[in-house]
């Protein structure tokens, strides 16, 4: 991403090419802009500079000026200002762009330096790529191929270090592979604010370790695995499961909360193996919470719904839709929409509610924010419901919770959690109106879009009074009580968009196919159906995929009027938030987000 021209642009010269960059730009980033790779290990764009790996060595020079008069000294041979080259190499990661800075990365001296650094790094390296999970995405492999000498002169015995040190519940350390770049240490200290890692011992015996009695167990611990340039830190969940070069990468969005962290879903042959963060400098930088990385396990969980049921018996989609519409014909219908549905689904939910003249409700899901990448609002897409007009006010939040939220000031990010995300279950509420209407006998049929009504506060007696049509992914009390159950797709199995807390509309894409149901069953009643197809069927609209729904969205929702699904960039688009500025959003401050003053 080339920054738009600003007044403080300076021109630097890298390998003979001039480029204008904002003053202070890191030389590694400046070189990247013109396609020059400065190999590095310890430098990370979102962490402080530590300059300890020495891989990024460059030659550096500045325009010569006369010390006394400050007049530029010209080189008579070229007619240009003379460059004073520093004779010894400098590290690129700690060099910032200054006017007239000259950089050389392709000289024999630099080649020599890189080979030397690589040789030192590999002296005690176990060379066990065949059993290393990082193979295929390892900087040491890449740099050795690109800048290494290609053969070893080391004949002495290599250092042997512990290979299976469990630093925390989700992170395993192989000491032999560590290149002592300290990225993990800086991450823990600077981003997770949980300063548990450090080096002990000296020289080639230096070892990464946890502070005695502590563990690397905060809810952001797996980011250290992402940023470890080598295979020293590995995820216990992904360890030895699959080689990365087999995995297909699909861009997705973390559905844990309204932060909407950008993610990549890694899958092979319809099975998801891991979820990692995707860089978005306006949302999540390069980080995401550990709890969001485990969400893929729901895709193949045992309680996944895979068969369409009408009154408890297996059925087909058209029968289920007809039955649902029959139930709704007598009036007294309520539609419970979801802040976990995509914008497209919420739009069709609204259409459905309009068609059935039903009241609409939305379940709020509020927990504690961790001030980093999990916000208080655990619905990823409440703002989508506002934008498409499914709701016009925020779903109400229980009074006890409101009080609890405002008093929570400590950072949850640094609190230990043995199981990712277990520390704060969100509180579901927002259906008190619906409960009253059911008690009063005004509502006889409830269509729930993936929301467990029991968990959201309806009593068993209330559930017993109504006919429930349930569209959802997993079995729960509501699906058990429902007359019509239509299994739908999880976020990993469909396309769509979410609007996050910044009113940024972001896309997610289908990574794996939905569950196909049992092969013995006829195709019509097997497996899960895309929510859009079901909703379009219920609402009797001929728009059952994302592209078709977007045509309607663009036509009917002014805020999305100029967009189409294909045009939304991978890092999202900001929508106008002013119409909703007065609403009482639950979020507190998180990374790249400050709540509007209220």
């Amino acid at each position: 991403m080339i920054a738009p021209p600003k007044p403080d642009l300076v021109t630097v010269n890298i390998d003979g090419k001039d480029i204008a960059v904002p003053k202070g730009t890191n030389v590694i980033e400046a070189a990247r802009l013109i396609g020059v790779d400065v190999p590095h290990y310890c430098y990370h764009p979102k962490l402080t500079i530590s300059g300890n790996c020495r891989m990024c060595l460059i030659e550096m020079g500045n325009p010569a000026v006369d010390p006394a008069t400050k007049a530029p000294i010209m080189d008579p041979a070229t007619g240009k200002q003379k460059i004073n080259w520093i004779p010894r190499p400098q590290i690129g990661c700690a060099t910032n762009a200054s006017p007239g800075l000259h950089i050389r990365t392709n000289t024999p001296q630099i080649k020599d330096c890189r080979e030397g650094v690589m040789e030192f790094l590999l002296v005690n390296h176990p060379l066990d790529c065949p059993i290393c999970d990082q193979a295929g995405e390892c900087k040491l492999q890449e740099q050795a191929t690109g800048y290494g000498r290609g053969y070893s002169r080391f004949i002495e015995q290599k250092n042997v270090k512990p290979k299976r040190t469990q630093l925390g519940p989700r992170v395993m350390l192989d000491d032999e592979r560590c290149v002592l770049c300290s990225r993990c240490i800086r991450f823990s200290k600077e981003i997770a604010k949980d300063d548990v890692l450090g080096f002990i011992d000296r020289g080639s015996y230096s070892t990464l370790t946890c502070y005695p009695g502590k563990k690397l167990e905060n809810n952001y611990s797996l980011n250290t695995v992402d940023i470890c340039p080598v295979g020293a830190l590995t995820s216990t969940d992904f360890r030895f499961k699959m080689r990365v070069w087999f995995l297909k990468q699909t861009n997705s969005i973390d559905t844990e909360s309204s932060v909407g962290a950008n993610t990549v879903v890694w899958s092979r042959e319809g099975q998801i193996y891991r979820i990692t963060p995707r860089r978005n400098d306006d949302v999540n930088d390069t980080w995401m919470a550990d709890s969001g990385r485990e969400l893929y396990k729901q895709v193949r969980s045992a309680d996944r719904l895979t068969t369409i049921k009408v009154n408890g018996a297996d059925s087909a989609l058209d029968i289920a839709i007809n039955t649902a519409l029959q139930l709704a014909k007598d009036g007294g219908v309520a539609v419970v929409g979801s802040g976990r549905s995509s914008v497209e689904e919420q739009f069709l939910t609204k259409k459905l509610a309009d068609a059935l003249k039903a009241s609409t409700h939305l379940v709020s899901r509020v927990g504690q924010g961790d001030k980093l990448l999990i916000s208080a609002d655990r619905n990823p897409n409440v703002r989508g419901a506002l934008v498409v007009g499914l709701i016009s006010t925020m779903p109400e939040v229980g009074p006890a919770l409101r009080a609890g939220l405002s008093s929570s000031v400590h950072s949850l990010a640094s609190q230990p959690s043995t199981q990712a995300g277990s520390e704060s279950r969100p509180h579901l509420s927002g259906l008190t109106d619906l409960a009253a209407a059911i008690d009063a006998g005004q509502v006889k049929t409830v269509i729930s879009i993936g929301e467990d009504l029991a968990a959201a506060g309806l009593t068993a007696a209330q559930l017993g009074k109504i006919s429930i049509v349930y569209l959802g992914t997993h079995a729960n009390a509501t699906s058990a009580a429902a007359k019509v159950v239509i299994p739908t797709l999880s976020v990993f199995e469909k396309n769509g968009t979410f609007v996050n807390q910044q009113f940024r509309i972001q896309k997610f894409a289908k990574a794996v196919p939905g569950p196909a149901g049992l092969p013995a069953e006829a195709s019509a009643k097997a497996g899960a159906t895309d929510d859009l197809i079901v909703l379009a069927g219920l609402a009797n609209i001929a728009a059952s995929d994302v592209a078709a729904v977007w045509k309607l969205l663009a036509a009917e929702v002014p805020a999305l009027g100029t967009m189409s699904y294909a045009n939304i960039p991978e890092t999202g688009l900001l929508l106008d938030a002013t119409p909703f500025a007065a609403l009482p959003f639950a979020e507190g401050e998180t990374l790249h987000f400050k709540p509007a003053k209220s």
Partner: protein
């Protein structure tokens, strides 16, 4: 294109009697009667295979009986017809070969797909997969023709190992632990 009609030449007397042809044929037959055999009574007799022969891919153990494959999945990646399918696994921390850390949980080669190219052998960093002398594979079902891990080790047996790199690694670990 011009068409050129050709006259068929009439046969000579010798040709019409067939005798020179028969004698010529018998001569060839008689010559081979007294020459050494070039065919073989297969399957009772088996050919001596040249070194470097590429038969069915097999998995081998090292002379100490350790399974050499570490389930790096490089062969799975390189295999042109995608005949190989590996489920990687972890060696438990209390096993004698715990320092190797990784071994295949399951390893399947679909011999109906394999084209005997030998790329798996070439790519293997552990010298664990070898195309050996097994060239005659038959079966009654498709499933039978998918060699699983057990079958692959049965076919592979043990091969000499000039490196024994994991033994050296273990020795270094013991020595290193003592000196530090």
């Amino acid at each position: 294109m011009a068409i050129v009609p050709l006259e068929r030449k009439p046969l000579t007397l010798a040709e019409r009697s067939y005798l020179p042809g028969i004698v010529g044929g018998l001569k060839t037959t008689l010559k081979h009667l007294f020459q050494p055999n070039v065919t073989m009574e297969y399957p009772e007799q088996r050919p001596a295979l040249p070194p470097g022969y590429r038969g069915a891919p097999t998995l081998v153990k090292d002379p100490h009986g350790r399974e050499k494959c570490v389930s790096c999945q490089l062969c799975e990646f390189v295999c042109p017809p995608k005949a190989i399918r590996i489920t990687p696994g972890e060696i438990p921390a209390d096993a004698p070969t715990a320092h190797v850390e990784k071994a295949p949980k399951e390893f399947e080669i679909d011999m109906l797909r394999c084209i005997y190219c030998g790329l798996c052998q070439e790519v293997c960093p552990e010298e664990a997969i070898w195309l050996q002398n097994q060239f005659s594979l038959t079966g009654y079902t498709r499933e039978e023709m998918v060699h699983n891990k057990q079958r692959l080790y049965e076919l592979g047996g043990t091969l000499p190992d000039p490196h024994l790199k994991w033994d050296k690694k273990l020795a270094a670990e013991v020595a290193g632990g003592a000196s530090h």
